[in-house]
């Protein structure tokens, strides 16, 4: 171009004449932007791309479906001895998977129908499959409810401490430090012994039907396990509070309630979800451990831990009885942990961008 100034031969300045103008079509193509996504949609998309997380979801859904459907299909009850033709079958002791007892075999030979024992039977002539299913149900319920308990207490405590700041925060966090430093297993065992004594005298129907051990597990979770959640939530709120958008909202004149509702909670919800997802396997694990050492659910109610404990006695002769509950615990805990990791990868703002 003749209007362009003379160029120094070593200059890196771009020669305008070597470019051609973009057509309108090309300009329009530059305008196309990707679909606007919300934070939640974006996170879900990332989660669905993670094969481990999707696998965990599938495993968990299958387990939950089994819990719901199995008791409807299988004609046995977890607490009753197997009956053949209305009579108790005392010979159906410690059967292998899909094996029939002598009485059942006789009944089948006569033309009767007997539902197969998918996982065999235990030493008390009860169908083992339905016991494992029932145990899984109880373990999962304990895990879920304990986590919800931890969620409520932890989030409330942490957010109050974080938002108030100052002396309130100082005192509340020292209490957390004290609880944190207690040896939790010791406290759990001591508490369940003490609670067993005191709760056994109460006539409340809810406590009786749940079993005192079960109640003590919840109390223990309510007392001890919320501290991690409280610390996390407090830290997150302190971080959010220092952001300028909180100042901006104050400058606009927004009241504290509105700031907490519209700015603080939406910004720490992902941390809360992730921590809860990781809390569930920890709760299941603790419950299984307690049941295994005999401080968990009350007989005849099974849980995965107490099933494993019962199987320990006949380990040499009937190893399958230990394998089934143990594998179920592993599956559930692993699936929740992987799901929690997947959620963190998908929702943690620090890992985004």
């Amino acid at each position: 171009m003749d209007t362009a100034p003379n160029k120094n031969p070593l200059s890196l300045q771009i020669d305008v004449s070597r470019f051609e103008k973009a057509t309108d079509e090309e300009k329009r193509q530059q305008d196309v932007m990707s679909e606007s996504t919300t934070f939640f949609k974006d996170g879900m998309r990332k989660l669905m791309k993670n094969p481990l997380a999707v696998g965990s979801i599938v495993v968990l859904v299958l387990i939950i479906l089994t819990i719901i459907i199995a008791p409807l299909v299988v004609p046995y009850s977890y607490s009753d001895i197997i009956k053949v033709n209305g009579k108790r079958d005392k010979s159906a002791k410690n059967l292998a998977p899909f094996e029939y007892s002598k009485q059942e075999q006789k009944f089948i030979d006569e033309g009767g129908k007997v539902f197969p024992h998918i996982m065999g039977t235990d030493s008390m002539c009860r169908d083992y499959f339905i016991r494992v299913v029932e145990g899984t149900k109880i373990s999962l319920t304990v895990g879920l409810f304990a986590s919800i308990l931890v969620l409520i207490i932890g989030v409330l405590y942490g957010s109050i401490s974080g938002y108030m700041g100052g002396k309130v925060d100082l005192i509340m966090m020292r209490i957390v430090d004290i609880i944190y430093s207690l040896p939790d297993m010791l406290i759990i065992i001591l508490l369940s012994v003490v609670l067993n004594e005191t709760l056994a005298q109460s006539n409340s129907k809810i406590i009786q039907s749940l079993g005192t051990n079960m109640v003590s597990i919840f109390v223990v979770f309510g007392l001890l396990y919320w501290v991690g959640m409280a610390r996390l939530v407090r830290g997150e709120i302190l971080k959010i509070k220092s952001n300028e958008y909180i100042l901006a909202a104050q400058a606009v004149g927004a009241p504290s309630g509105r700031i907490i509702r519209t700015h603080i909670i939406p910004n720490c919800i992902s941390v809360i979800i992730i921590t809860t997802a990781l809390q569930i396997p920890s709760a299941i694990f603790t419950e299984s451990f307690l049941s295994f050492v005999g401080m968990g659910v009350k007989a005849p109610m099974p849980s995965l831990g107490s099933l494993a404990n019962a199987a320990r006695e006949g380990l040499q002769s009937y190893p399958m009885q230990l394998v089934f509950p143990a594998v179920t615990i592993v599956l559930i805990v692993l699936a929740f942990n992987l799901l929690g990791d997947g959620l963190r990868d998908a929702f943690d703002p620090k890992l985004r961008r």
Binding site: S36, G253, P349, R353
Partner: protein, 323 residues
């Protein structure tokens, strides 16, 4: 006094902001972030506030909007004193644009909700449609497209984010905006766009600005008057051109000599005044004039007494014993 009060929009008298800082296990020291600052801003005028980092510029801006409770001094808006009790109504008159366009916008909110928040808080609309119309109008005012309304802030560049922040400040139709280093986080080409937009908005809407920055060139470009701050005090105020051509305070001189000059030959001819030593800790301020530890002209008087701002003609105020 009352006569002058009616003329000026914002008047600050002897503003103090002291923060208690824990220095030991039990002992506390006062950090005097702002120590006796006074200035006035007329309607539609821009006052530039310059000074190095940590000298209390941002604190002045935030205290002015009562984001911090001032420990001393008075703030008048339109002739009436602003107190905690009547502050809520003044939030519609005074707004703020923040420094960091990344942390000053909530990442979980759409642009529409961010700009709409002041409208929600002050209930400035009757129907959903009116709210949306107002938001779109504001977005047009700062040069954002209407289709940006439903997007989230992480989809925008720094300059666009700052525009969103400006639209939020304008939503309540304020007469005074504190601009807290609104361009220092942006790159130079975007800085120019945003600065020009500030000027256009001032022409259109007649707002007054307190423009806080550490870049003297930018401040000189946009301001009518400039105040120079050093360690919590104003050391010199003058009209923008007067300050640029005829700086008096030794600190202003050194600041001006540090401004980069585009032409290399003039730049070589200029002598830079390089300050010696570090900025004294605001926890342990020197006696008398705060600047004396780094000042070439310091005398005994500077150590004994703190100089007050005195008029050197044409409203050029300087706080120095020797100049």
């Amino acid at each position: 006094m009352s006569n002058e009060n009616t003329k000026c929009l914002v008047e600050v008298q002897d503003l103090q902001q002291h923060f208690p800082i824990k220095t030991g296990f039990f002992s506390k020291t006062l950090l005097k972030a702002v120590d006796g600052v006074s200035f006035r801003i007329n309607p539609g005028e821009t006052l530039g506030l310059v000074g190095e980092s940590g000298c209390g510029k941002t604190t002045v801006g935030r205290t002015l909007l009562r984001l911090y409770k001032p420990t001393g001094g008075k703030i008048y808006f339109d002739g009436t004193e602003v107190t905690d009790r009547n502050m809520h109504s003044y939030r519609k008159e005074m707004q703020m644009v923040f420094q960091d366009p990344y942390s000053s916008l909530d990442p979980r909110m759409t642009v529409e909700d961010i700009i709409g928040e002041p409208l929600d808080v002050h209930k400035l609309y009757k129907s959903k449609g009116e709210r949306r119309d107002k938001i779109l109008e504001l977005m047009g005012l700062v040069g954002l497209n209407a289709e940006h309304a439903t997007r989230y802030v992480h989809e925008f560049s720094g300059g666009q984010r700052q525009r969103i922040g400006i639209a939020r400040a304008l939503a309540v139709n304020p007469r005074f905006i504190v601009c807290d280093e609104p361009v220092s986080a942006l790159d130079v080409s975007i800085q120019a766009q945003v600065i020009n937009m500030f000027e256009e908005l001032q022409e259109k809407l007649g707002v007054a600005y307190l423009f806080i920055a550490h870049d003297l060139l930018v401040v000189h470009h946009i301001s009518d008057r400039i105040a120079v701050m050093y360690l919590g005090r104003i050391v010199e105020t003058a009209d923008a051109d007067e300050l640029n051509d005829n700086p008096m305070h030794p600190y202003t001189l050194s600041l001006l000599s540090a401004v980069p000059i585009p032409d290399p030959e003039t730049a070589r001819a200029q002598k830079r005044i390089i300050l010696e030593g570090d900025v004294p800790s605001p926890l342990n301020m020197p006696s008398g004039c705060a600047f004396r530890t780094r000042c070439r002209y310091a005398t005994e008087q500077c150590a004994r007494e703190c100089p007050q701002l005195t008029d050197r003609g044409n409203g050029h105020m300087v706080a120095c014993w020797n100049k």
